[in-house]
């Protein structure tokens, strides 16, 4: 499963996306656990980051499939100061 990263998470991982081994499907909560285990650099941030699935905000009991577009990012800070 490929996960897009933005802002602090991208900098911390040193890459715009990471791969997480996940067969079939899992919940967003399980996905967070796997990211923390497989990418220790993100472990500290992953719990308070936002997960988006197919360009919609996703929550811990939502299900993610390997074919979904998945992204991980901090609370948004765009617009203006």
């Amino acid at each position: 499963m490929v996960i897009k990263l933005f802002a602090t998470l991208k900098d911390r991982a040193g890459a715009g996306e990471i791969t997480v081994s996940a067969e079939g499907e899992c919940t967003v909560a399980e996905l967070r656990t796997r990211i923390a285990a497989q990418h220790p650099a993100l472990a500290e941030l992953v719990a308070r980051s936002i997960v988006a699935v197919n360009r919609e905000f996703a929550f811990n009991d939502d299900v993610v499939r390997a074919t979904d577009e998945v992204a991980l990012f901090p609370p948004v800070s765009g617009g203006c100061l």
């Binding site: 802002a7 936002i50 992204a71 948004v76 100061l81």
Partner: protein, 149 residues
């Protein structure tokens, strides 16, 4: 009559004159434009520049959602433009624009523009990295989306 809805994530400078023309229909007598700018001075802090990054595909979808919410809440407004600039911007430059046209100034264009920028800052996935004299860092927002956002 058509009601223009423009949503855009762009590296180009924001052109307020062009946005005013683009949203104004022949029925419109009032246009409200909000623009966020790079603030250089905040209390004792100095900002030298900002760099904006977007999750472009989702940001476009969320800008469309903000426009839909504006139309649902402010029934008398006509044209809408929501533009987020990304890339590097200097102090004073517009980073974002929310533009709303309506027949009369009392038809909700002021309120819709305010709602639009508030909502954009909550749900549109864009982040800024601030460069100060002592280094640069990503700025994190504080809004945590819930179901329905």
């Amino acid at each position: 009559m058509s009601e223009p809805t423009i949503v855009r994530i762009t590296t180009d400078p924001i052109d307020l004159n062009a946005l005013q023309r683009a949203v104004t229909t022949p029925r419109d007598g009032a246009v409200v434009l909000f623009t966020g700018t790079v603030r250089g001075v905040t209390g004792a802090e100095r900002t030298e520049k900002l760099e904006y990054e977007a999750y472009t595909e989702m940001a476009m979808a969320k800008l469309r959602q903000v426009a839909d919410e504006m139309r649902a809440k402010f029934a008398l407004i006509h044209g809408i433009a929501l533009v987020q600039r990304v890339g590097e911007m200097a102090v004073g430059e517009p980073t974002v624009a929310v533009v709303v046209s309506a027949g009369h100034r009392g038809d909700g264009a002021f309120e819709a523009a305010r709602y639009g920028i508030d909502r954009l800052k909550q749900i549109v996935p864009v982040w800024k990295k601030e460069t100060r004299p002592d280094g640069s860092a990503w700025v994190e927002g504080d809004y945590v989306p819930s179901r329905g956002d």
